[in-house]
């Protein structure tokens, strides 16, 4: 028994977590975090036959942990139990889960053929076929792939970046690499404007979060070990901070590695930083690029994982430094996408129900666009509110005086 699994004893059975679980909110079949987490864990220690298959309904959003007044890592307990006990059945859904969760494998296969792949996955016929065969909901558009990866683009920039006296390392993640290299480019633009150069890790793999969510814990652990090794190399060699623009990658590298995957990241943990936290600190220390005023209104949506890591304060304060920008902070709610969860046919309805409150809030706000730090939140909000949704770093890049 490791330390993580024994921390459930602080649970006083107050039942507060069930109030804030977005899955329980939309799907009455899910027993909720209390029963799946601390109650269940206590019984699973007695005998593994008390493992409940309903645990796979958990989206790992961690809102139970944010709500818990006893500081129990309810989400971690559930994720660890799934890793230990979940049985994989070989069926089309497993194929689907495999495709959705192995983001870097399929990203590297797709980016060279992006226009073709995007066209295929966007075709109504293919959508219907995917719906019927591998249960990817036909209402969902699979993420578009970029034609050429971020890493490929970066190769040509590496020399320029070396010129800067100060350097940071950037864990770009699958989304920037395969789907939205522009965000990586924006980051470099912003940091360069602050006289900071950007290095990439020698190699990186998917942070592992979609693997954890889909029950491929062993593969996730291998990725984690791989990434920790390369991050450790970077820290030892250059002593740079390691930044991430994805709120989920950031939480995973820092917290899920030790808590859920039992991978020791203590050597680099203090070097890991989320981009808005890094930027705001720089701004506060006087290293702020000149920003053009933007006379726009934005709504800010706090992604679940940023809420859990407690760093939303940095994004909000960062947005508030942009001259002329009116920032409306939305009451934080899960958008329902929860990474790969919302793409699955069996979850589509629940996912929509979870996000309903948020979509309402956004529609009522009448903003010019939405800002969020998470890629899957972005897709979900854009699909369901017709409001363009961008990353805070992209907004900053747009505000830079040329």
């Amino acid at each position: 028994m490791d330390l993580v699994s024994t921390r459930f004893e602080k649970c006083i059975k107050c039942t507060i977590c069930t109030v804030y679980c977005p899955v329980a909110k939309a799907n009455p079949d899910y027993p909720g975090p209390k029963e799946s987490g601390p109650d269940g864990e206590r019984l699973r220690i007695k005998s593994p036959e008390y493992y409940d298959e309903a645990l796979k309904l958990c989206t790992n959003c961690k809102r139970c942990e944010t709500a818990c007044p006893s500081n129990v890592n309810v989400g971690d307990i559930i994720a660890v139990a799934r890793g230990k006990f979940e049985k994989k059945k070989l069926n089309p859904k497993l194929v689907r889960d495999y495709i959705l969760s192995h983001t870097d494998l399929f990203g590297s296969l797709s980016t060279p053929l992006a226009p073709l792949v995007n066209k295929i996955t966007d075709s109504p016929i293919i959508k219907t076929i995917m719906d019927k065969t591998v249960a990817i909901d036909k209402h969902k558009s699979l993420p578009k792939y970029a034609f050429g990866s971020f890493r490929n683009w970066y190769k040509k920039q590496a020399d320029t970046q070396m010129q800067f006296k100060r350097q940071v390392s950037y864990f770009h993640g699958c989304y920037v690499n395969y789907n939205n290299p522009q965000l990586g480019k924006d980051l470099i633009k912003v940091l360069n404007a602050m006289n900071i150069g950007v290095k990439l890790l020698k190699k990186e793999k998917c942070c592992g979060v979609p693997l954890i969510a889909n029950g491929f814990h062993d593969k996730a652990r291998k990725n984690a070990q791989f990434n920790v090794k390369h991050m450790t190399d970077a820290v030892e060699q250059f002593n740079t901070p390691i930044l991430s623009t994805s709120s989920t990658c950031a939480l995973t590298l820092k917290q899920e590695y030790p808590h859920v995957l039992n991978v020791d990241n203590s050597k680099i943990s203090s070097k890991l930083d989320f981009i808005t936290s890094f930027l705001l600190r720089e701004f506060m220390n006087g290293n702020m690029p000149t920003l053009k005023p933007v006379n726009k209104t934005i709504v800010y949506h706090t992604p679940c994982h940023l809420e859990r890591s407690g760093l939303a304060i940095f994004t909000i304060e960062l947005l508030r430094t942009i001259p002329g920008l009116k920032v409306i902070v939305l009451n934080s709610e899960c958008c329902g996408s929860a990474g790969t969860y919302g793409f699955k046919k069996e979850n589509y309805e629940v996912s929509m129900k979870i996000g309903q409150g948020l979509f309402e809030q956004i529609k009522q706000a009448n903003a010019d666009f939405a800002i969020t730090d998470c890629e899957t939140c972005k897709w979900q909000i854009e699909e369901n509110s017709d409001l363009e949704t961008i990353h805070p770093v992209t907004l900053l890049a747009q505000c830079l005086s040329d």
Binding site: C14, I16, P28, C68, P69, R308, I313, E317
Partner: protein, 450 residues
């Protein structure tokens, strides 16, 4: 990061202070370590139901001066009558404006509410669907009470309520019955409907057709002359709208009774306060925890006083938060505002002085439901007359305690938990404004929030 005021703790005291601080135009943050005990509260606001000596109170305003003379160390005696009533009226107004009306007896008396055990408890402000029974119970006008059992719902038991209510002598002659009603949405669930909590039912009851079906059933079991006692099973994120609909459809007089956790009545208050706070531009750090702070000599003070310079949180790690003033509303044992070690009591963030250092055998009574309550409920932080705490006897001038981390009162036996939380939270902001002499402080109105 710099704020004008930082509030540590997101319960009723913390949100009161936070909202009041925003009203004063201060840049305000609340650090909330999980959701609060409102999740299992009555959703009514208790002001003062009993004296520490166990005497029941009918009209808190009427006896207030006598009370403060007799119990000078009680938080109310430090806050003072004017601020106590001002703060509660303020609270009542902002919640009412935000869609949760809080009502009271016209003469300022306490009133009685029915509990899930069929006993009566005294309180001061209640939500609209709590039927307020008079303190002089024989003056009630009830003809018949119908207690509604929701089929398969185990967290509220109508028979227990009924059988205990009938034993109340003042209800002699009142017909009290119970009857059960099914919720259509229970069938067809994969999960066992008997295991649903109040919040799960509230979710089902956001569906219009469910509300209509329930209304139709309720109309068949009760008439407009009856008091219909129902468990609090509505209001998930929608405040009172479902009950308003039920009422409009049935015209029945409802008396909502809280259930086993979670309590929808309490959740409504918390949700409303959070919403107000965020909309008014407050910075809410959810699920974060203050780990420690830097305390140093107060340079503005000629005495040997201290000042809190900055605080650190679990999530923000090495990034400190600073403010001119801090309000410490960290809650009691449940919320870990106070920690009971096996050999001593401790305030875990700053290691503040406690109001008792007696052995643990003095923390409890031999009986659980002892007539004189449990001593641990009165344990807490020792403060001066301004609610500034002390560190090894030295006052921290820019830190103010509020709510249940305070010692010297019993929130349950004295029926004053929410009243003390609101009035000390409110009072703390008054003091903090004196400290900062913020230029906007003269424009304090509750309009700025709504």
């Amino acid at each position: 990061m710099k704020f004008d005021s930082i509030i540590i703790g997101g319960g009723i005291a913390g949100y009161t202070a936070g909202l009041r601080s925003l009203e004063a135009g201060l840049k305000t943050a609340i650090i909330s370590n999980g959701q609060s005990a409102l999740h299992f509260s009555s959703g009514s606001i208790d002001l003062l139901s009993h004296t520490p000596t166990g005497k029941a109170i009918r009209n808190p305003a009427a006896i207030f001066d006598k009370f403060t003379n007799e119990f000078p160390l009680h938080p109310y005696s430090k806050v003072g009558k004017q601020t106590v009533f001002e703060s509660l009226n303020w609270y009542k107004n902002i919640l009412t404006t935000a869609g949760i009306p809080l009502l009271q007896q016209e003469d300022g008396d306490n009133h009685l509410r029915i509990t899930p055990l069929g006993t009566l408890k005294s309180t001061w402000l209640s939500q609209p669907y709590i039927h307020q029974l008079p303190m002089r119970l024989n003056e009630h006008t009830i003809k018949r009470i119908v207690v509604v059992q929701i089929d398969d719902f185990r967290d509220f038991n109508a028979k227990m309520v009924t059988d205990n209510l009938v034993q109340i002598p003042e209800f002699e002659g009142v017909e009290i019955t119970h009857t059960s009603v099914a919720i259509d949405g229970f069938s067809g669930l994969k999960r066992n409907a008997c295991e649903l909590r109040s919040i799960d039912i509230a979710r089902i009851l956001t569906n219009e057709s469910e509300i209509k079906a329930l209304a139709t059933k309720l109309k068949t079991i009760a008439t407009q002359d009856d008091l219909v006692v129902i468990p609090a099973i509505t209001g998930n994120g929608k405040g009172l709208s479902v009950l308003n609909k039920l009422h409009a459809l049935t015209q029945l007089t409802f008396h909502e009774v809280p259930t086993m956790p979670p309590s929808m009545l309490g959740i409504r208050l918390e949700e409303t306060m959070i919403d107000l706070f965020i909309k008014a531009g407050g910075m809410l750090l959810k699920g974060d925890q203050v780990t420690h702070g830097d305390i140093a000599k107060d340079n503005n003070s000629s005495n040997d006083e201290l000042s809190l310079k900055r605080i650190y949180t679990r999530n923000l790690e090495s990034m400190p938060l600073t403010a001119d003033n801090y309000i410490f509303a960290s809650g009691s044992f449940f919320n870990k505002g106070l920690i009971a070690q096996h050999d001593k009591l401790q305030e875990p963030v700053f290691n503040l002085d406690m109001n008792s250092n007696q052995a643990r055998s003095t923390w409890y009574n031999p009986q659980f439901f002892a007539p004189n309550s449990q001593p641990f409920l009165s344990l807490g932080i020792k403060t001066n007359h301004n609610f500034n705490p002390m560190l090894a006897g030295k006052v921290i001038t820019n830190l103010f305690c509020a709510g249940s981390n305070l010692g010297g009162y019993d929130p349950i036996a004295e029926g004053c938990g929410s009243g003390v939380a609101i009035s000390t939270g409110y009072h703390a902001v008054n003091h903090l404004l004196q400290n900062t002499k913020h230029n906007q402080s003269q424009h304090l109105t509750s309009d700025s929030l709504v």
